[in-house]
């Protein structure tokens, strides 16, 4: 059943169109991540859903109700912000209960809900403190709690972990996932961090320029990016792109012919200029490369050891190419090495439309 429906949503600031006839259908209990670089319109879309921005055209439905012009508090949403947005002069308890008090809820009901949220988030001992006396992680828990007490259908997260350090971020990420398992609410989560997106999402919507580029499960997005932008955005280190043209059953680039054996074309295999993308982790090196459809010897230029694995740079078909090696691999610049890959794991994009071929 549909939980949040965005229909032909358009948002303009004066002459500037931020969102253009955008459509989105989010199922009940789904965890949807809006992912994109800053300025792509993902937070704007979230604010529109929350009712914090007036839309220029289109409709927003939540739980079957048209809430396009409803006040934020009447939409049945809870929201968690990047900067926590805790009211500094109120205690944690005051923060949690502010919305309920505004809704003139009976006192005992408020107490009950606050207690439950505190228990779920393990912030019971902090209730009497003010936000200034809390750590970043604790603050974010309180901010989540504030959405929790509202007992709503939809949770909106606006980059909730961006202000935390790396370790805390990983911890809270898991906790949000646990929360979702437990509550089974619809959650819309905005982030620019692809790890968060990959780990949390049921579906990811990758946005650019106010347009959803691809809406799919994380594996689908990783394996079969629908356009060059998505391919470049997802994956770290970044995918390698070769500029060239389809030539029969191969791809001609910089004097090299890359094979297309096993490649699953979307439609009919076309011809003409295109991009050939292959992820660094899909380029194998050493003896295992020998059996692959494409293999060649290259000279290692730079080695970046990262512990768990090592990133190496070499020149292939005239462009610098990065590929991932085992962390234990003993290589140094100047070494010559055999590398190879399976074209089945590659992605081909049309040169002009940048769409997947």
């Amino acid at each position: 059943m549909t939980s949040v429906l965005v229909k032909d949503l358009t948002l303009k600031f004066g002459a500037l169109t931020v969102l253009n006839t955008l459509n989105l259908d989010i199922a009940e209990g789904e965890f949807l991540v809006l992912l994109g670089a800053s300025g792509c319109g993902k937070s704007t879309l979230l604010n529109c859903i929350a009712g914090l921005l007036d839309v220029s055209a289109g409709e927003i439905h939540i739980a079957g109700r048209n809430v396009t012009w409803a006040e934020p508090s009447e939409r049945g949403i809870g929201m968690v912000f990047q900067s926590y947005a805790l009211y500094p002069q109120m205690t944690v308890e005051g923060n949690l209960s502010f919305g309920l008090r505004n809704a003139r809820m009976p006192k005992d009901e408020i107490a009950k809900r606050v207690a439950r949220a505190a228990e779920v988030l393990q912030i019971g001992p902090l209730l009497k403190r003010k936000p200034g006396a809390l750590s970043g992680g604790q603050r974010q828990r309180v901010a989540i709690g504030r959405a929790l007490v509202r007992d709503v259908d939809v949770f909106l997260f606006d980059e909730p972990l961006s202000n935390l350090d790396a370790k805390l971020r990983a911890d809270l990420r898991v906790e949000i996932k646990r929360l979702h398992h437990r509550l089974k609410n619809t959650m819309i989560y905005v982030t620019h961090d692809q790890i968060e997106a990959m780990t949390l999402a049921d579906r990811i919507a990758i946005m650019k320029g106010g347009v959803i580029q691809q809406l799919d499960s994380p594996t689908e997005i990783y394996n079969r990016p629908q356009n060059k932008y998505v391919a470049g955005f997802i994956g770290s280190p970044e995918i390698n792109f070769f500029d060239g043209a389809l030539a029969g059953d191969g791809f001609a680039t910089g004097g090299t012919l890359l094979p297309l054996t096993n490649y699953a074309f979307q439609g009919a295999p076309g011809a003409g200029p295109a991009w050939y993308g292959i992820r660094p982790e899909h380029i194998l090196s050493g003896e295992v490369a020998r059996g692959l459809p494409f293999a060649t010897e290259v000279e290692i230029e730079i080695v970046e050891p990262m512990g768990s694995d090592t990133l190496a740079w070499a020149t292939l078909a005239g462009i610098p190419v990065r590929f991932r090696m085992d962390g234990q691999a003993r290589v140094q610049s100047g070494d010559r090495l055999l590398i190879g890959f399976d074209p089945a794991r590659a992605s081909l994009f049309d040169k002009t439309t940048e769409k997947r071929l």
Partner: protein
């Protein structure tokens, strides 16, 4: 560049030793500061010293010498006895008038400006920026341009010559800079806080009174400092928009000093001057750093 550094004995440390307390630099620095400070402090010293002297001593001695015989008579006279015409109750009346003008003016102007700043930073509506633009330009309109239209305005609403008339005038002329101050302050509060409060179901006034106002104590203090000193020190509006029995202290000071009966009593004049400056001086000395922050915030961010 390495070649620019002359080779030296590796056993001898290069360059001068770290400065000592009485280095030439420190002596010049502190010397200059003390001299300048003396220049700034001198008038206050002269005022105090003169106000404690008797008239014969003033005529004889120099203005910088400390009083031979300290007398508080000039202070008493300035406060309670100095005459303007037949009214010989000194500055005391002006003092209380100034209090009656300043307190409501400060309260009202801050109330209006904080709401303005709040609406302008968080609840913009069509035209709000234009009104704000006009308001800011208003801060630069020479008062002389508006003096007479305001006389007419106050006359038409029946408040000319009353305390409330002057309070309105102070609120009007305080509005541009205070609104700017509050707008900048509320604009610097994370917008997400405002969004969170809206999601929590608070409305325009709810957010203002329960979220924003409790957070704005520092800026309110700054605005108060700005307004208390500004309104207390006002002369022009006091002279134009009130009548003699409502004259604020500055106007009365000017009257007493210029209302000469026989010879000028410089000691009384200086005591009166000090008394008039006392309130803003106390505000300044008590508020200390906040005062600086206040005027800096009002100015730099503008």
């Amino acid at each position: 560049m390495a070649s620019a550094i002359p080779p030296g004995d590796p056993a001898v440390p290069q360059g001068p030793r770290p400065r000592r307390a009485f280095s030439a630099r420190n002596i010049t620095l502190y010397g200059a500061l003390v001299l300048i400070a003396a220049y700034y402090a001198l008038p206050l010293y002269v005022m105090i010293v003169t106000s404690l002297k008797t008239m014969p001593e003033i005529r004889l001695g120099n203005i910088f010498s400390p009083p031979v015989q300290i007398t508080f008579q000039p202070w008493i006279k300035a406060w309670a006895e100095a005459c303007t015409g037949l009214n010989c109750d000194g500055l005391s009346r002006g003092f209380w008038n100034s209090v009656r003008i300043t307190v409501p003016s400060v309260a009202i102007s801050i109330a209006i400006a904080s709401i303005n700043g709040y609406a302008l930073s968080l609840w913009r509506f069509r035209g709000s920026e234009m009104f704000f633009g006009i308001l800011v330009f208003g801060a630069f309109i020479p008062y002389q341009v508006l003096i007479y239209p305001i006389v007419i305005l106050l006359r038409d609403i029946g408040l000319y010559g009353t305390l409330w008339g002057l309070i309105i005038v102070h609120s009007i002329f305080g509005m541009p800079i205070l609104t700017l101050l509050f707008r900048n302050y509320f604009g610097s509060i994370p917008e997400e806080l405002f969004k969170a409060a809206r999601v929590d179901g608070a409305g325009f006034w709810g957010i203002f009174f329960r979220v924003m106002l409790p957070m704005s104590l520092p800026i309110v203090v700054v605005a108060m400092i700005l307004q208390v000193t500004g309104i207390w020190n006002d002369f022009l509006f006091g002279v134009i928009y009130t009548k003699p029995d409502l004259y604020p202290m500055t106007v009365q000071l000017n009257n007493i000093v210029n209302s000469v009966q026989g010879v000028k009593e410089y000691n009384v004049n200086m005591a009166a001057t000090l008394l008039t400056g006392l309130v803003p001086l106390i505000v300044y000395f008590v508020s200390g750093k906040l005062f600086v922050r206040g005027i800096a915030a009002g100015a730099v961010k503008g």
